[in-house]
């Protein structure tokens, strides 16, 4: 089951996920991309870290402005 989950998660690469996560800051992600990204994030701690960092950078830019 674990192997199966990993296989599903890796149907989309970290590189593609990083693009989709960045784009999500400009426009809502289509549902099918959202599903693939969520499957990937469930098994990839590196992309989860990246996702948090993107959110943090947006917050940091907001503070920079204030």
């Amino acid at each position: 089951m674990k192997t199966f989950r990993r296989a599903i998660g890796h149907l989309v690469s970290c590189k593609d996920v990083s693009h989709l996560l960045s784009q999500a800051h400009e426009k809502p992600m289509p549902w099918w991309s959202r599903v693939r990204v969520n499957w990937h994030l469930a098994v990839c701690s590196m992309c989860r870290a990246f996702d948090r960092q993107l959110g943090f950078m947006r917050e940091a830019m907001r503070r920079y402005r204030q």
């Binding site: 690469s13 970290c14 590189k15 593609d16 990083s18 693009h19 960045s22 784009q23 800051h25 400009e26 426009k27 590196m46 870290a49 990246f50 948090r52 960092q53 993107l54 943090f56 950078m57 947006r58 917050e59 940091a60 830019m61 907001r62 503070r63 920079y64 402005r65 204030q66």
Partner: protein, 191 residues
Amino acid sequence: MNAEFLKELENQRGYLMRVARLQLRDTALAEDVVQDTLAAALTAQAGFTGKSSVKTWLTGILKHKIVDAIRRKQREPISASTLDEEADLEDFEGLFKDNGAWQAPPADWGDPEQSLSRQQFFDVMQFCLDKLPPATARVFMMREVMELESDEICKELTITANNLWVILYRARMSLRECLELNWFAGGGNRA
């Protein structure tokens, strides 16, 4: 004229200059734009309701002044070819292996929010923003500081949405890497 209000405006000059300089890449022009902004703020003082901070209000005025300055002077217009060039510069191939996995995985930044209360963090961020290629920095600031919507930026710079995403992606990847190297890896967040 309210002296206190005037002083409050003066206090924001440094910040406004930083934003304008990053946007316009031209100190003299940035000074003009900031001067215009402060003058407009004075005349419009009554329009300041105090609902937002003076800084936010001034940023709103500055945003329009910068867009006007870019339109009017068309100084260093960001040409589609400059943007294309910056977008493909290295295409970030180095960041990922052939199979699309991270070459150097993002590190754990711990509790990064703590950094937001430290001035040094913002100095490092300024350094990282200054390192972005000029057109990339301008697009990133339009999006993140001036909070323009994607379609406004595309219209203003006559670029495609796809091009915009690539440029913002590039800006975020560089900023991420730079912050990691110069702040988080150095333990700046823990010092």
